[in-house]
Structure formats: structure tokens, C-alpha cells
Amino acid sequence: MGKGAQETVLRLEGVTKRIGGKAIVNDLSFELKKGEIVGLLGPNGAGKTTTIRMIVGLIKMTEGDITVGGASVRKDFENAIRHVGGIIENPEFYPYMTGLDNLKQYQRMSDGVTDSRVREAAELVGLQHALGKKVKTYSLGMRQRLGIAQALLHKPSVLILDEPTNGLDPAGIREMRDYMKHVAEREGIAILVSSHLLSEMELMCSRVVVIQEGKLVTVRAIGEGAGHPDGAGAGEGIVTVSIQVSDPERALAAVSAMEGIRSANRQGDAGRLSVTLPHERIPSVIQLLGGEGIGVYRVEEIKASLEEEFMKWTGGNRIA
């Protein structure tokens, strides 16, 4: 990923969880480097939640190990977990206590969290004026922000977020995303986030780890050319375009014979061709079609969204 020099803060090695002989998570390995946001993707039941919960020690792993900041979750839990901040599903608090009382609960449980750090964390998420109110009066968005504050309280090096945007409205989702980007860039915190909102992941993550049936399917970078439907040729100016023509049969024959064309296929029934070629060859394709007397109605770039890729990776037989 071109960031090999960055230090690894979270590493999963051959992590396996078996319940009653069935492997929920099977030999899963991946790692997170400082300051990167990685998405954990998979269809329902793929083992995302189990994986996240094994990282934070809520679920015990059957085999393998997870290290955080060099400490093993298995053998040295208290030292491993001190580098981790987590929001597991919706953050839940003691509703009959104030926001401040809730934060103080977690302040007392960690080393070196001062009162000014508690205030700082509350200010980061803009809750400083609501700290004196009981949490039962908070909206879901405010609870979500308090969740971020509690996760950042002890200055972790990794944030683990399980479905953090569940139940949030679009504004809340956007706010959450901005906070994530902010803490990753400004504080160098690595973030692992599981979500089924693929478009969200696309906007937020620099890499995605895709799992299915508890196994690793692929690890992909997001961004620069990664939207290419074949996943190959990223960054080389190779694009795939959809061309709507009057005579697809002849057009296909003509285009296929051209130099520099990577692939050309019929696409659907609407007289469309899907052509993969270098960016600078597009004008000559259109010239050629014009010269052959074939009408060109539309030329559009096909940019596979993460969703389409996801369907391909996971066989597309299940809804994420």
C-alpha cells in the first residue's frame, strides 16, 4: 500500500473462533498501520462483529492471536487493551447519570486521564455544554458523540468501531465520518471500522478488508483507480467505457481489431459495448466508429462502485 514504513499498531494472526465445531472466524490475518482508516466488510453473518469483539476482548478467540501496540490480547490483555478505544454498536451509557459522570467512570478505570483530558475529549465532540445533563435526555447523535469521547479519553492508538453509524440520520453519519477522519489525520490514530454501509466505507476508508464466512476474501486499497471494475491496471490510465452505438455487431468487430484495446464486449441488449482501453485511445475509437458509419449515441465511463466490487468479491448472493 506504499505505507510499509509506517508502524503496525494492530495485527491479527491466524485468528479463529469456533463455536460448537463451526468456525465463525477462520484463520483471519490482517494489520493496521498508524493513522489509516480500514473498513471491515462482509455480508451479514460473515464474522465482522465476532472479529471486532475478539479484538477488544469481549469474545475469546479459539486460535491465533491479536497484538495491539505489541501486546497480546490473549496473554497480556490489560496492556493490549490500553491502546484501544472502542465503540461497539451504539454506545450505551448509564442513563440516570450525567454525561460527565459517565465519562468519569471510564476516567477512573484508565491510567493518567486527567480532568482536563475529560474536558478536552468532550470539547472535541462538542458536548462540553451538555455534560451536566443526564444521558437519558441525550439524542442518539449526542450519545454517539459521547461514545467517541469515551473512546478517545485514554488517547488510544487504535479505534475500533462496530457499526458506528447504525441508527444515525444522514447528518449524524456525516458528522461521525468527519470525526473519524479528523482523529486519524490529526492524532495519527488507526481506525478499524465495520459497517454494512458500503458508500460510507468508500468515503472514509483508505483500505477495506473483505471477509466472508469468516475467511479473508481480499484486502483492497480505496481511491486512486481502485474503482476499476477489473480491479487491475489501477493508476495506468486504463479506463472502461460503455459506448452506445447503432450497430453493436459491426462496432464490436471494428473495435476489437484496434490496436491498444484491452478488451471489448457486448454489454446488455441496449446496443452497448463495454470497452477497456487506455484513456488516450478513446478519440480514435470514436473516429473509427464514425468512419465506419456507425452512429455513436453515448460514451460513458464505467466506474464500479465499492458495492459492485463487493458483490463480485462475495459472490453477490447475499445482501451486505
Partner: protein, 250 residues
């Protein structure tokens, strides 16, 4: 035990900040108020402040109530974390599950002791108001307190364990109350069998041995009952800790 004090303080705040915290104290106060009324009406005449306190704060009267009112709070100590979902934030701190459960258990006991102290304080105050200060048999008071503490402790430990096992406060209240209620009935039904004396219920009330009193079943003595209670307490604790430490939270 790094941070143990902080953990205990956390747990105490979780109990104390609840509006229902004062309910058990209020229930006991009502009972004692009723007893004062009965004395004032001369339906019952203990004769001295000490006698009043010794009667009221004993297994014969309000003391019997202690585990029942204690259960209200104890049944929530562990199940509440699961019901609210806060268990997920509680267990991802740099503290072992052992320490977290230990802090919860210690607070459970502190709560029980606070109820006993409140009971004695209220009974003492009312006794003074009724009769003024007279001769007090402090050894008897201490013995009474210990008996109540043992009785409250063993049911507190049972409730705590049921809470850890079921994760549900409703089920915990139900099961613990049921155990309290059927105790004497079960003892009676099984009294013909010799194993009955190893049951929890006939041993829970150590006050029966006071003043040379007779135990419920043959072959029982104060050291015997104390040992049985200790064994039950160890089993309850072991089951609670083993379950809590190995549980997958999903």
C-alpha cells in the same frame, strides 16, 4: 490491587446515583415506624431501648427483611450492565474481568452492610426516643449484627451469582425471592433425610443458636452451620467468577 479503590467507587456510584437506591432504607424505616406505633399503642412492650432494638433489628422482625430489600439492588449489579449494554464499554478497559467482578461483589457486600447499619441506627434512635438511654448489652448487639450479616451475606452471594448466570435482573429477583420464600418449606419437607442439614436454608439463620437455642435439624451446631455457609459462599463465588471471566459478550 491497582485501581481497585477506583473500581469500587465506580460501582458504588452506579448504585447510589439511582433513584431506587433509597427504597430499601425507606422500606425498613416504614417497618420500624410501624413497630414504634405498636409500642406507643402498648400492644407490645419491650420495656427498654435495648430490648426494642434487640427485637426489631433481629431475625424475628425487620432482620428477616434484609435479604429481601438487599435483593432489589444486588439483582441489578451485574444484569444492569447487560441490560443497558454498558458491559461492552466496561470490559474494554485496562482492567481484568476478575477485578471488575470483584469490585462489584465488594460493593454488593458494602450495600448489605450499609443496610444492616441503617437498620440498627434507626432501631437505636427509635428505642432512645421511646425509652431513653438505658443499659445496653453491646455484646448481644454485636452478635445480632453478625447473625444478620451472615444471613444477608449468603443470600446476597446467591443473588449475585444468579445475576451473573442469568444476566437478567427480573429472573434474578424472581429466583432469589423464591429461594428465600421456600427455604423453610423445603427444610420441613426434607427434614426426615439426614442430608437436609447440608442445605443452605436451615443453616442461613445463625441466630437460632443464641441463648442455647436448638437448631432446626438434628446434628447441627454453630460451627457446623458456619462451615456450611462458608462452603456455599465459596461455591457461589467460584461459579460467578468462572462464568463471568469466560463469558463471550456478544
Amino acid at each position: 490491587m491497582h485501581k481497585m479503590g477506583a473500581l469500587i467507587w465506580n460501582e458504588w456510584l452506579k448504585l447510589y446515583k439511582k433513584r431506587s437506591f433509597f427504597v430499601p432504607y425507606a422500606v425498613m424505616a416504614c417497618y420500624i415506624g410501624f413497630a414504634v406505633f405498636v409500642v406507643v399503642k402498648k400492644y407490645y412492650e419491650p420495656g427498654s431501648a435495648f430490648a426494642f432494638m434487640d427485637d426489631i433489628a433481629s431475625m424475628r422482625f425487620v432482620g428477616q427483611l434484609l435479604p429481601i430489600v438487599a435483593i432489589i439492588a444486588i439483582a441489578n449489579v451485574v444484569p444492569m450492565e447487560f441490560r443497558l449494554g454498558t458491559i461492552k464499554l466496561l470490559l474494554i478497559r485496562s482492567q481484568s474481568r476478575n477485578k471488575i467482578l470483584a469490585s462489584k461483589f465488594i460493593v454488593t457486600l458494602l450495600h448489605g452492610f450499609s443496610l444492616i447499619l441503617a437498620l440498627f441506627a434507626m432501631a437505636f434512635a427509635c428505642g432512645l426516643a421511646l425509652y431513653g438511654f438505658g443499659p445496653f448489652d453491646w455484646a448481644a448487639v454485636a452478635r445480632n449484627m453478625l447473625d444478620l450479616a451472615a444471613y444477608t451475606f449468603i443470600y446476597a452471594a446467591l443473588t449475585f451469582m444468579v445475576g451473573v448466570l442469568t444476566k437478567s435482573s427480573g429472573a434474578t429477583v424472581g429466583i432469589s425471592m423464591f429461594c428465600l420464600m421456600i427455604g423453610s418449606l423445603v427444610t420441613m419437607l426434607l427434614s426426615q433425610y439426614s442430608f437436609a442439614k447440608f442445605l443452605l436454608f436451615p443453616n442461613a439463620d445463625l441466630s437460632v443458636y443464641r441463648n442455647g437455642g436448638q437448631p432446626m435439624l438434628e446434628g447441627m451446631s454453630l460451627p457446623f452451620s458456619a462451615a456450611v455457609l462458608a462452603a456455599y459462599a465459596v461455591v457461589f463465588m467460584a461459579a460467578s467468577f468462572a462464568t463471568f471471566i469466560n463469558r463471550d459478550v456478544s
